[in-house]
Amino acid sequence: MRDQNFQELLGTAGYSIPEETPANVSESLYTSTIGASKSYMEEELEKQVAFSQFLKHSLPNRKAPAQLIQSIQDRIKLIGSEE
């Protein structure tokens, strides 16, 4: 009896294997299935490139506030004096 979770996994992925197939064959089939799917996934991800660029340019792009820089400088001096 093949492992139930594995069967369900393949079923979800749209694949099925005969019940009499040896377990080691099913594992290699699964590996090749996932391997083959990568190129499809990459193709789908490539279609999202414009969205990725849009995201990059949509989020804030500000300079570090002066008081933050001063605060860090003060802290570094303090760390140095503690050593």
């Binding site: 799917s37 999202q48 500000r62």
Partner: protein
């Protein structure tokens, strides 16, 4: 005398190599946290960690990359503590390496260069990011904003590369759907959507 000299060296390196990287670090921190106060805290903590780990830094090398790595690690560690249980590869992620046929690739269906659309949803991106599931959020931040490679994201998050791709794909869909809905709710209408 030795301690003073060490501090002097740190001050010099800070001024010469770390200070020029602060704007980039702050921008990254804003992307990571979506919050100005948290971003400032993250940059502050990063520089403090950097100074404490100063001996592992080779002067004159890529300070920006070194600091960004410290900051990412700091963020990921803290973020995961706040947002979720320790990372694990779950059934959903493994199945996710194969896109479900019924899932529409929404990000690919919309013209994101449309100025009208950009004007409507531009300010909503941060809020929509904040609503993303953490496992999608961190992959989008590292891949799209920090511009790491798949392999680097996988190493940072300790997940398989296939899971990185899957989460990126699904996360972008979830995000694009939120933005699409927001645009439509605000009167945007485009036949491509």
């Amino acid at each position: 005398m030795v301690l003073m000299a060490t501090n002097d060296v740190k001050q010099q390196v800070f001024e010469r190599e770390f200070l020029p990287a602060l704007d980039i670090l702050y921008r990254d921190a804003l992307h990571l946290t979506n919050d100005e106060v948290m971003a400032e805290d993250l940059v502050h903590d990063t520089l403090e960690l950097a100074i404490k780990s100063f001996d592992s830094y080779r002067q004159g090398t890529n300070a920006k990359a070194w600091l960004r790595t410290i900051m990412r690690n700091r963020f990921i560690n803290d973020y995961r503590k706040r947002k979720r249980q320790p990372n694990r590869v779950d059934y959903d992620d493994v199945v996710g390496t194969i896109p479900q046929k019924e899932t529409e690739n929404i990000p690919a269906m919309i013209d994101w260069n449309d100025e009208t659309l950009r004007a409507i949803v531009g300010d909503e991106v941060s809020a929509a990011m904040e609503r993303l599931h953490p496992k999608y959020y961190e992959v989008i931040v590292l891949y799209d904003f920090q511009e790491l490679k798949y392999e680097e994201v996988a190493a940072e998050l300790n997940i398989p590369i296939g899971t990185v791709r899957s989460r990126l794909y699904r996360g972008r869909i979830a995000l694009a759907k939120e933005l699409k809905d927001y645009a439509e709710a605000n009167g945007y209408n485009n036949n491509r959507i």
